[in-house]
């Protein structure tokens, strides 16, 4: 958080020596707060005060990058506690844990499955972000497993090893891939910090509770290791939510630098439902990374969808290009259904038209991303607007039947739209789920 002029004044020498070009230290402080002068103008600033001032211009939650290339994960830089206040900026990273106790072929099997886990919803690709390798056997086995995994995925890696020689081997193998090191504790702090420095890798800092974590991050930053991700001990869900909430609150509202990093949570849960529920909880409540074990497609699809929902910009609903979309092998007799350019409306209609297996056109009208009823109420989905789109997309040249299906919720505009457009208006079902049977009986 930015410091006020008075906050800055407290850090100045208060001698009013005028060397900065201002009459008083207070005047200088006021200009600094407005970022109108450089800190260096005052030659008498203590090193500590300088570090403090520089830190205050940094984002409250540090941006951390894991992995490299197109699939790198960037988290942090969050600015609010509730999505309606602005938005949540950088979708929480989701990763899978693979243990090195599996055989090579089991590991390859898992990776193949993980690589096939991509989905598309409302025009967005939904992807997982990380693969974490957890050491169970010795350091040699760990680095062998890392070698296999690293050659078969371009996702960011998390190296979870207690054995530091194994960790070093693995870091050597993954040079340039910017893996996340897991983790520094009170016990191994200096050795792991050394590795993080040497390989310039981001590092997870683990402490029993927030206070212990904060102590460690302060030590690490003073040693020059600053790309950090924080983790507290495993605990009941509500206590974890409390930790995550405190981290976010303290970083944003109290400018607590020691906790100004993304947080990582590992879900250790064998039941596939409970695992996803717990992961979803942390995604909703401020986690920067969630690691899980299960990767059945039904689990992952639901979790990625949840993340997409939570991280959607509340001010900017997902939109698609307003257009006449041909679905299936259409011809000039195919029915035309109209909807808005709100992604959810369009893709819901699309799903049902596809399910019906009847080729049809969907005409998406520009409603600035509003849904059918909202757009109608806001006069963005009016007979006049729809008629305009009909002309713009030259509908009369595409189909010969001059008929148009409108959503059941706007049945009241039928007459007016008929007059405006010259098309015969057919009132479709209110809910998209009714489209297949509607099309069959058309």
């Amino acid at each position: 958080m930015a410091l006020s002029g008075l906050d800055i004044y407290k850090l100045l020498p208060k001698t009013n020596c005028k060397e900065c070009g201002f009459a008083t230290c207070l005047a200088f402080a006021m200009q600094l707060a407005k970022k109108a002068v450089a800190i260096e103008k005052c030659p008498y600033l203590s090193l500590e005060a300088k570090a403090n001032l520089e830190a205050s211009s940094l984002p409250p939650i540090k941006l951390i990058t894991i992995g490299a290339g197109e699939q790198k994960l960037e988290i942090g830089n969050e600015s609010v506690l509730f999505r309606h206040e602005e938005k949540f900026h950088r979708p929480c990273g989701i990763g899978f844990i693979i243990e090195d106790s599996l055989t090579d072929s089991q590991i390859i099997d898992k990776l193949d499955k993980i690589n096939s886990l991509t989905f598309e919803r409302v025009g967005q690709k939904l992807e997982i972000n990380l693969v974490a390798i957890r050491q169970i056997n010795d350091g040699k086995r760990f680095s062998d497993a890392v070698k296999i995994i690293s050659s078969k995925t371009s996702l960011g890696l998390v190296l979870m090893a207690g054995d530091l020689s194994g960790l070093k081997l693995a870091l050597e193998l993954t040079k340039g891939k910017n893996p996340l090191i897991y983790h520094a504790t009170r016990e191994n702090l200096s050795q792991v910090a050394q590795l993080a420095k040497e390989y310039k890798s981001p590092l997870v800092v683990y402490g029993q509770d927030l206070e212990k974590v904060a102590e460690l991050t302060i030590e690490l930053t003073s040693q020059g290791v600053t790309d950090l991700i924080i983790e507290t001990a495993n605990k009941p869900i509500a206590d974890k939510i409390w930790d995550l909430t405190q981290i976010r609150r303290l970083a944003l509202k109290k400018s607590n630098r020691a906790l100004g990093y993304p947080a990582l949570v590992i879900v250790e849960q064998d039941d596939p439902f409970e695992e996803i529920q717990e992961a979803a909880t942390y995604i909703s409540k401020y986690a920067g990374i969630v690691l899980i074990k299960g990767f059945e497609s039904w689990q992952v699809l639901s979790l990625l969808t949840l993340r997409q929902n939570i991280y959607t910009d509340p001010q900017k609903p997902l939109q698609i290009e307003p257009k006449l979309y041909p679905i299936g092998s259409v011809n000039n007799k195919s029915p035309v259904l109209i909807t808005t350019n709100f992604s959810l409306s369009y893709f819901t209609v699309l799903g049902e038209v596809e399910a019906s297996k009847i080729p049809a056109y969907i005409m998406s009208v520009d409603t600035e991303g509003m849904s059918v009823l909202t757009a109608w109420a806001a006069e963005k989905f009016t007979p006049h607007k729809i008629a305009e789109s009909i002309n713009k997309f030259a509908l009369a040249e595409v189909v010969t039947h001059k008929k148009l299906v409108i959503p059941g919720y706007v049945a009241m505009m039928s007459g007016e739209l008929q007059d405006e457009s010259g098309f015969e208006i057919i009132v479709g079902p209110k809910e998209a789920a009714g489209i297949p049977s509607f099309l069959k009986n058309l």
């Binding site: 999505r83 009941p236 596939p272 639901s302 997409q308």
Partner: protein, 313 residues
Amino acid sequence: MALQLMTERWSGKISVVSIGATKEELGTRTHTIRIGGEESLPCLFQEAPIPNKPAIAFEIWDIAPSDWLDELNKVYGNVLNDPLKWAEKCVKEFKAQSLCIKMQGAHPDFGNRSEKEEAALVKELLKRVSVPLIILGCGDDTKDNLLLPACSEAAKGERCLIGSAVGDNYKTITASALADGHSLIAESPIDINIAKQLNILISDMGLPLERIVINPTIGALGYGLEYAYSIMERARLAALSGDKTVASPFVCFVGQETWRVKEAKTDHPEQGIIWETLTSTALIQAGADLLVMRHPKAVEKIDKYIEELFNHK
């Protein structure tokens, strides 16, 4: 230096709504469900008291649903044709703590069952099961204005939750709830201001705010869930900051929203169940107090999740 945690001091509190009257209260229910009463945001137990757990009600219908998916039909089988047996199955086999009966068959398009028939069904249902009851109209305003007073009277003194009152149709149902000792669901289309206005209109008729539950109308996971999620968070923040007109518990109709989405129709039997489970999970995190659900496995998972949430330091 000890780390100074940041604890919010809220001035407001969500009202507690009780559903179901026991013998001592001159009803016939074996227990009462209490929802609401939060003095903090969901799960922040360290901050302020959260006295009541979110509750779950099984959704049942007066007629056999024609469009329910196989995954649900498989579970309920024949009892779907008999609301009384359906109710008993939920209570006995699935240990339902409350039931929500939707009078779908009263709708002019779905059989137009008379209010007399439906009132008789409510009476019979109250005899057959002893859990607290939620009674929903058919969604047709004109019909509901006949139907709901009849059902309300049939359940007089049982302290049911009845619904839904909406912006342009709340007077008849409010009067009934008032006369027969029930609480009311006030439904607003994902809009915090409409929710406020409706609560004020209803309480102006004499029904205390402590007898209103807000239905913010939710979307399923992937189908607008985030709108309800944020509306609920905003309303909760306003309520905790002292705005009594939105300080009502939330009821979320998760079952009806999730069991019609594309994902529930896939070949993976778990996909629909996890959709209902995860939608409920997220809504609990946004402040849901009462979830109306359909699949017993989803209910079981949410039940367990709620137990775990309340098992904290």
